[in-house]
């Protein structure tokens, strides 16, 4: 390996722009359906994206089809960046967002499936723009699936090789020998679930536009809503919220397991360690939250209404599960303000920000599998002091995890914590208070959406200083791309030849 294969990098960037343009034009179609003049501007944005993409691909069509690890890192990082930059065009051209910083923040928040928004009056936005906003989530989710099944295992980042793997190793859990086939199968599941959720939401009482938008942003664990009040808008329709709860759970679970479920192989799911932990976390914290809300929380202090359509207990359980899953799976929908319930619950949710979904899902955060490995490795450390010469591997899915992967996960965890702290320090330097700085850093890094303090579920990010928005967008990107992928580009040895 002597020189970076720039041609293939540019070629793939062009390809991504083509995709981006294609999806933009669907937003233009949505605009057209609602008779909005903004549709033309969105179409223009799409045309520019396609044109630039096409030109880039044309001039690099003679690229050599060889990808090394280095090219992999560059493609992933710059791919997301190019998407985010191109994705600002619809906002800018239509004038929906006037500041470029805001537009970039919104697109990055979309493509990284974070769901933090700078829009103050969402409902006033053109439908085409709202649809594009939800689409950025959904495209980001698709990208993450490819990232999860094909790219990260190859690059060997932070134990992402594991998944629900039968055999731990660089192969990950291949459903099919060829990675593209695997990705395609998972995409079909992803698209299928999105369709099912949209139909169910419609049946439960949403309009088609809202139903499709929310389905797009649930499956990608994004969090953009078409309503100013987010999902709290439907607090009087528990069924809608329960549907979203279920689909958040699905989106935060490994998509490979969904594939097994569809094929009827439920045993494989029951055997999967990560799923067991993920489900126990979700159910356990939901139940704990529900009890505490039912007994102690004074919901009337919240600015969000809590109509108890199906009784107080159901309401407590629903809001608890909804928020637990919204935070755990890093979706970030809001049905209630979890910072207003009780100090204990606020701390509990703060903890949940670190959990994340399962590996192989569209969720961000540290992810359950890494916690399992960290905890088990911690327990093993005690045993290791008693038997210094014993081989005491961390076991996951009944197989020993290679020490290399454990180190990888430890490294990831430490880097995550450092990034979180540095992120918070950065925000505090810009004048944010303690709680808000910590919350803003954590929610950006974990791609969740709402945070704490002045960035609580009922606030938004519009008031952040310009630099703060770029800083948060950067945190979103590194968090989304599992830290190493982006941060390695800042190391001198990456750019050195050999």
């Amino acid at each position: 390996m002597t020189r970076l294969n720039y041609k293939i990098i540019v070629f793939i960037m062009g390809l991504l722009l083509l995709f981006n343009g294609g999806f933009m034009s669907t937003s233009a179609v949505v605009s057209a359906i609602y008779g909005e003049p903004e549709g033309w501007y969105i179409l223009l944005a799409a045309a520019i994206a396609v044109l630039i993409g096409g030109i880039a691909m044309y001039f690099t069509r003679d690229h050599v089809k060889v990808l090394q690890k280095k090219e992999g890192y560059l493609i992933v990082t710059f791919g997301w960046l190019i998407m985010a930059f191109a994705g600002t065009m619809p906002y800018m051209f239509t004038g929906a967002i006037t500041s470029y910083t805001d537009a970039f923040f919104e697109t990055m928040s979309g493509f990284t499936t974070t769901g933090a928004s700078i829009m103050t009056d969402i409902e006033a936005m053109p439908k085409g723009i709202l649809f594009w906003r939800s689409l950025t989530h959904w495209i980001g989710g698709m990208g993450i699936i490819v990232l999860a099944v094909a790219i990260l295992p190859l690059l060997g980042i932070g134990g992402m090789q594991l998944f629900a793997a039968e055999a731990p190793g660089p192969s990950g859990d291949k459903l099919h020998p060829r990675i593209t086939d695997t990705a395609k199968r998972l995409w079909i599941i992803y698209v299928g679930f999105t369709g099912i959720e949209a139909v169910l939401l419609k049946l439960a009482g949403m309009g088609w536009f809202d139903a499709i938008n929310h389905a797009l942003s649930t499956l990608s664990t994004g969090g953009f809503s078409t309503k100013n009040a987010s999902i709290a808008y439907w607090n009087d329709t528990p069924l809608i919220q329960w549907i979203i709860i279920v689909f958040m759970f699905i989106a935060g679970a490994n998509f490979v397991l969904s594939y097994f479920a569809i094929k009827g192989q439920f045993k494989k799911i029951a055997r999967d360690t990560e799923f067991k932990w993920y489900a126990s976390f979700a159910i356990g914290f939901s139940a704990l939250g529900a009890i505490l809300i039912y007994l102690y929380a004074n919901v009337s202090t919240s600015s969000i209404g809590h109509p108890m359509v199906w009784g107080e207990l159901e309401s407590a359980l629903r809001h608890s599960s909804f928020q637990v899953l919204a935070v755990m799976t890093t979706t970030g929908f809001v049905s209630a303000d979890y910072t207003m319930w009780s100090p204990f619950l606020t701390i509990m949710f703060f903890g949940l920000f670190f959990v994340g979904g399962s590996a192989g899902s569209t969720a961000g955060g540290i992810k359950v599998v890494r916690h399992i490995i960290l905890i088990r490795n911690g327990i093993m450390e005690f045993k290791r002091t008693l038997h210094p010469n014993a081989i005491l591997p961390v076991r996951f899915n009944n197989r020993a995890v290679a020490p290399q992967i454990v180190f990888n996960v430890l490294g990831f965890f430490i880097l995550y914590m450092l990034s979180f702290i540095v992120g918070a320090v950065g925000l505090a330097a810009l004048g944010l208070d303690f709680e808000t700085a910590i919350g803003g850093s954590l929610t950006s890094l974990g791609n969740v959406g709402p945070a704490f303090g002045k960035l609580s579920p009922v606030d938004n990010f519009a008031w952040l200083p310009t630099l703060g928005k770029w800083w948060c967008a950067f945190l979103m990107l590194i968090g989304r791309l599992e830290l190493f992928t982006v941060l390695i580009l800042f190391t001198p040895f990456f750019w050195r030849n050999r």
């Binding site: 010469n389 081989i391 591997p393 020993a400």
Partner: protein, 449 residues
């Protein structure tokens, strides 16, 4: 019977030796001249130099007329190939020695007989079964069950505390008339000479004595020999080879705490991966500090099964010195067997010997039901089904002339075991267990068959 043995390694040679005593028609094939030379000069067999997977060589060995082809080269795939070829060329029965225990576990589903392999023998598996049996009767250093335990043969070294040390066989049986046990072979301390006891033979301290006993006699023998039955709870195994691994699996399934020492780090990791119940330790078993760190003095048994016989013996001696009650060493070199009891290791096992005995048993199927060689002794145990027209049939046992080279250890009739059977009349269909010196095998066979 015409038998072809492919592979003149230790198993092949030992088999050829056992079989040649019975004047079978044996052809031994091996590509290495030196391996054949010793067999050729010492045994009454035909040797053939060449590759046993060569059809020409197999034809030269007259495989078409062979009653049995035994493939015991060190390579499992070669053995399988030899068996498949031989069967196609007309051999009546085939036995292949294999190393992969998966083959034996899935014998039914794969259907090896369809390919032309009638029997699979895995020395490693036999060795780990042997270890399991030895541990389940920890006070004894050898044991073998006949007819699902109707009769049990056990070997024990007599301690000073044994109540019948210094007494003759007759006197000993008078002390406890209600207990049925029959001494069948004795090796005096410090000698390598096996004797078949008679009424006047005296038990001495340090004797290695083999007894036949019926089902409930095993527990009573504990009392008599002054040994206490100890439940094995903690076992240390040295060496993560095939045998170590198998043994660890078997023992941990029995609920025993197993520590497995393996010197190779990546092999140790694979073992830890495959055996979640076993504590795998990466280190050299000859390192005393390591053994002490892993609490060797708390072990009930120490099993050394590395590929190196000397390491195994030395580490067992070390374990003995740390007051481990029971030590078992895997030994490749047959010569060490002679001195095993003198040096203090409880039991030596040799997987090749086990394999050879097992194959021998298979060959004699139908006539001799079961047979085993007494560990460290030059004597064999044979089980016969008495034929109606045989010489011994319908005779009182005490009237059967066995001279001093054989003894009837017991009789199994209708599933019930009997020992001390002087007054019993042998009937058609009885299963008789006889202990005899090799020179008397042919004579004993004639009596019962």
């Amino acid at each position: 019977m015409k038998i072809i043995i492919a592979g003149a390694g230790e198993v092949g040679f030992h088999l050829a030796k056992l079989l040649s005593y019975e004047s079978q028609d044996i052809t031994l094939i091996d590509p290495v001249k030196e391996n054949l030379y010793y067999a050729d000069t010492h045994l009454d067999i035909r040797t053939l130099r060449g590759d046993s997977t060569s059809i020409k060589i197999l034809n030269d060995a007259h495989v078409g007329e062979a009653d049995l082809v035994i493939a015991v080269t060190s390579s499992e795939t070669t053995n399988i190939t030899i068996c498949v070829l031989s069967k196609q060329l007309g051999a009546k029965r085939t036995i292949a020695r294999i190393a992969n225990t998966e083959f034996i576990e899935n014998q039914e589903s794969i259907g090896f007989s369809k390919f032309g392999i009638d029997e699979l023998i895995s020395p490693e598996m036999l060795a780990s079964r042997e270890i399991e049996l030895l541990l389940s009767q920890s006070a004894f250093n050898d044991s073998y069950e006949f007819e699902d335990g109707a009769l049990t043969m056990i070997g024990v070294t007599l301690p000073r505390t044994a109540s019948f040390v210094g007494k003759s066989v007759k006197e000993a049986s008078l002390i406890l008339p209600e207990i049925h046990f029959m001494p069948i072979a004795i090796q005096r301390f410090g000698t390598q000479y096996t004797l078949i006891p008679r009424d006047d033979t005296q038990y001495k301290e340090g004797d290695q004595v083999y007894f036949m006993t019926s089902q409930d006699g095993v527990d009573e023998l504990y009392k008599l020999t002054g040994k206490t039955k100890r439940n094995i709870k903690n076992v240390m195994i040295l060496g993560g080879s095939n045998i170590g691994r198998q043994t660890a699996i078997i023992l941990s399934e029995m609920g025993i705490n197993v520590k497995l020492l393996e010197v190779n780090a990546s092999k140790a990791f694979d073992l830890a991966d495959a055996l979640p119940e076993v504590l795998v330790i990466n280190g050299d078993g000859r390192n005393v500090d390591l053994l002490q760190e892993e609490n060797i003095h708390e072990m009930d048994a120490f099993i050394a099964v590395t590929g190196n016989s000397e390491t195994n013996i030395i580490s067992c001696l070390m374990a003995k010195s740390k007051s481990v009650n029971k030590t078992v060493a895997l030994v490749e070199n047959m010569d060490y067997f002679q001195i095993s009891h003198n040096i203090g290791v409880d039991t030596l096992i040799n997987k090749k010997l086990l394999a050879a005995n097992n194959i021998f048993r298979f060959i004699r199927k139908g006539e001799v039901v079961a047979m085993t060689k007494l560990n460290s002794m030059n004597a064999e145990l044979l089980e016969f089904v008495v034929k109606p027209h045989s010489e011994a049939c319908n005779k009182l046992i005490k009237d059967i002339d066995l001279s001093r080279s054989a003894i009837i250890g017991g009789v199994v009739r209708n599933g019930e075991g009997y020992t001390v059977v002087d007054e019993l009349t042998i009937r058609d269909g009885d299963r008789v267990v006889v202990c005899c010196l090799p020179k008397a095998i042919a004579k004993v066979e004639k009596l019962f068959l």
